[in-house]
């Protein structure tokens, strides 16, 4: 009876599919509703922070930094409270990372400031002697893609009901209306920064990548 499988490719393939999908069905699917809940009172990220998250993804910070504090004393001493599932409920994708060439960043907003980040992104070994992190000078010149960040907010609001409030709509008009708010947020961050390029871009109504990134970093608490 059994040997019959190895001669019937179709049933053979079907058997493989059943056996390999079993784990996924039992292990992953049923927990979706449960572990998808946000913490009480948690707000989704602002558009500027989302743009910063996209810079984080573009320059792939997660290649070296995690955002997952494990429940050990050595970790909570170093980074702060251990991470809770609900804190990630709005993160698409999750950015836990799998390697700590640099330190964890899940609560970096608690102990680093805007000007620290500015100086550090320009020249990491100057701020942390011995650091092997490269400088991200181009983030001071590239413009952050705010429109895509807004598009992302609208998408998660419409598709996943992320609570973004009634002001978020599809289409160019809605974005134009919201843009000034984002620029205001950016100005607040840039006020604490010294770099001339940043000041010049903000004056032109543009937001450099580094400002968005710092807004995101500051929101990680």
């Amino acid at each position: 009876m059994f040997h019959w499988l190895e001669k019937n490719p179709f049933y053979f393939a079907a058997a493989i599919s059943i056996v390999i999908s079993f784990a996924g069905l039992i292990e992953i699917v049923p927990n979706f509703a449960q572990s998808g809940k946000p913490l009480v009172g948690m707000k989704p990220r602002t558009v500027l922070e989302l743009a910063g998250k996209n810079v984080y993804m573009k320059d792939n910070c997660m290649a070296c930094h995690s955002q997952m504090i494990r429940p050990f004393k050595s970790e909570t001493d170093r980074y702060g409270d251990y991470s809770l599932s609900g804190e990630y409920a709005f993160d698409r994708p999750f950015l836990w990372g799998s390697k700590r060439t640099g330190p964890d960043l899940h609560r970096i907003g608690n102990y680093r400031t805007t000007d620290w980040h500015e100086a550090h992104m320009l020249n990491p070994p100057k701020i942390v002697p011995g650091s092997i992190m490269p400088a991200y000078d181009h983030q001071f010149e590239n413009e952050a893609d705010l429109e895509t960040a807004y598009a992302e907010a609208v998408t998660v609001k419409n598709v996943f009901h992320t609570p973004y409030g009634p002001a978020f709509h599809r289409g160019q008009e809605a974005w134009d209306a919201h843009k000034s708010k984002v620029l205001e947020d950016a100005k607040k961050i840039a006020a604490d920064m010294k770099d001339e390029r940043v000041k010049a871009m903000i004056a032109e109504g543009k937001v450099p990548e580094v400002v968005a990134l710092i807004a995101y970093m500051n929101s990680l608490k």
Binding site: I20, M57, D59, K73, S74, Y88, F94, S131
Partner: protein, 488 residues
């Protein structure tokens, strides 16, 4: 399907994918060596401006090696051994040939574009699944083309029983299809938001902890169905064929196949130990990772026992050396993986360099060795010439073996040092080291690793050169060799 006197196996597709294997292998390892060197010598981050930082290049390294090198190798060997074990030639079906060629060109162009997109930072940030949605669609099309081709060839086969290798290739196809599809589910923001922003950007269908679960169910099993299953399929064909010894036990191969299919998928959550995924899943991941030793070693032992009574071949045939060493490294990394999946070990090992160390003893020692050995075996049959140089092959073998050993030993030490230093406390319970202390202490190990990368890359260039010379100036063969690969 009328058989005539001149009917021969058609290796044209196998050849094309062999060239891609070598090309992507070289590129992937070149980038890998560069980023390894960057960790020891950070100045190397500034060679290409914005596009040359470690963080931008790492996904290019991983994706080129996984989806460029390994997948080309899988295609190349399938288009070679698929015909042989089914005893049917690709030339017997025009349709399959055309399909195969479409697959080749689409794959070649798609892979180049996808790599460029990563260079520009267009990334969905899920490890080993960074390609954004348009490239995902291309990947799916290529994969389906391959599936249709495989099923088509199986459909017109003469040998009714499917050989062991065919099971593994089938499983590779089905597994990757399922995993890739589910993990890359994403919604393009451009269309939902009424035409705002970048058309390439998308958001994952899953959020936070769920996304992590799906991702590591994928990440772990992409390793299973990309780096383990098809490579086992290769060795089940090439080792018996090269040595002229039938596989030690067909029954054992059946058992380890189904065992592997069942157990592997459960183990994904061992990437998420101590994280916010539910405890029982973490335990499940740990437990099944340990059980996974059985089917993995089942295959590996089957390989080694195939050589029973024929161990003399190990000394005089370098190809057998490659394959036996590959199965040995397979055993090593399949025992190392479960060890790292034990909770208490994982608490130290996770996030450290021990993990890349583990990946690389598997990939450099097992996957790349096995794919190179397969190409060495196929070359004289495809090009009808002897292998250009046995000596070069021997020196390549020793150079690369040394490189792998240097790689994993340095990363073991680095990883454990790092893990211990992160948690070290003084007599009052205060942390002893600041984070940067745990970075600077690793410099020598990073330097050794970079050196091992250079050695391995040189070995790969020797391999490419040897194949090139075989094609162009190896001694011509009058008839196809039956078992042992002829070499000068």
């Amino acid at each position: 399907m009328q058989s005539n006197a001149a009917l021969e196996y058609d290796y044209s597709l196998a050849k094309k994918f062999t060239f891609l294997t070598i090309l992507f292998g070289f590129l992937g390892m070149l980038v890998g060596t560069l980023i390894a060197a960057q960790m020891a010598f950070p100045e190397l981050n500034y060679l290409l401006g914005e596009y040359g930082t470690f963080s931008r290049l790492r996904p290019i390294h991983t994706n080129t090696v996984v989806f460029g090198f390994t997948v080309s190798g899988i295609f190349a060997t399938w288009f070679y051994l698929g015909q042989r074990v089914l005893k049917v030639s690709m030339a017997e079906s025009k349709f399959l040939m055309v399909l195969g060629n479409i697959q080749f060109w689409l794959y070649f162009i798609g892979a180049l574009l996808a790599t460029i997109s990563l260079l520009f930072g267009v990334s969905s940030s899920k490890e080993y699944a960074q390609y954004e949605w348009p490239f995902d669609i291309v990947v799916v099309i290529i994969w389906v083309l391959w599936g249709v081709n495989m099923m088509g060839l199986i459909g017109i086969r003469r040998e009714k029983a499917l050989y062991i290798s065919v099971w593994y290739y089938l499983a590779c196809f089905l597994g990757i299809a399922m995993l890739y599809l589910f993990n890359n589910m994403a919604i393009p923001t451009y269309f939902v938001s009424g035409g705002l922003g970048s058309p390439l950007h998308s958001v994952s269908m899953y959020a936070g902890t769920n996304d992590a679960l799906v991702q590591w169910w994928y990440g772990h099993n992409a390793v299973a169905f990309g780096f383990t299953v098809p490579i086992v399929g290769m060795i089940y064909y090439f080792l018996p064929k090269e040595s002229g010894q039938a596989i030690y036990s067909y029954k054992l191969s059946l058992l380890s196949f189904w065992g592997l299919m069942f157990v592997y998928l459960w183990a994904g959550s061992h990437h998420l130990l101590w994280s916010t995924v539910p405890d029982w899943m973490q335990t499940m991941g740990s437990a099944f990772s340990v059980v996974l030793i059985l089917p993995s070693w089942g295959s590996a032992i089957n390989m080694l026992l195939t050589m029973k009574g024929e161990w003399n071949q190990l000394t005089d045939n370098p190809l057998i050396k490659f394959m036996v060493l590959a199965s040995t490294f397979y055993m090593l990394s399949t025992i190392e993986g479960p060890i790292q999946a034990i909770r208490s070990v994982n608490a130290i090992a996770h996030f450290t360099d021990w993990i890349p160390g583990h990946v690389h003893d598997g990939v450099l020692g097992w996957v790349v060795f096995m794919i190179m050995a397969s190409i060495f075996h196929m070359a004289p049959r495809m090009f009808k010439r002897e292998i250009y140089s046995k000596k070069l092959m021997e020196s390549q073998f020793w150079l690369q073996t040394t490189a792998v050993v240097l790689y994993f030993t340095s990363m073991w030490i680095a990883g454990i040092t790092q893990g211990m230093m992160w948690r070290a406390v003084d007599e009052y319970g205060n942390l002893m080291y600041s984070f940067i202390d745990t970075v600077t202490v690793l410099h020598p190990y990073y330097a050794i690793r970079a050196l091992s990368g250079v050695m391995y890359l040189i070995g790969f260039i020797m391999f490419a050169y040897n194949i090139y010379k075989t094609m162009t100036s190896g001694k011509e063969l009058t008839e196809e060799p039956q078992f042992r690969t002829p070499m000068a």
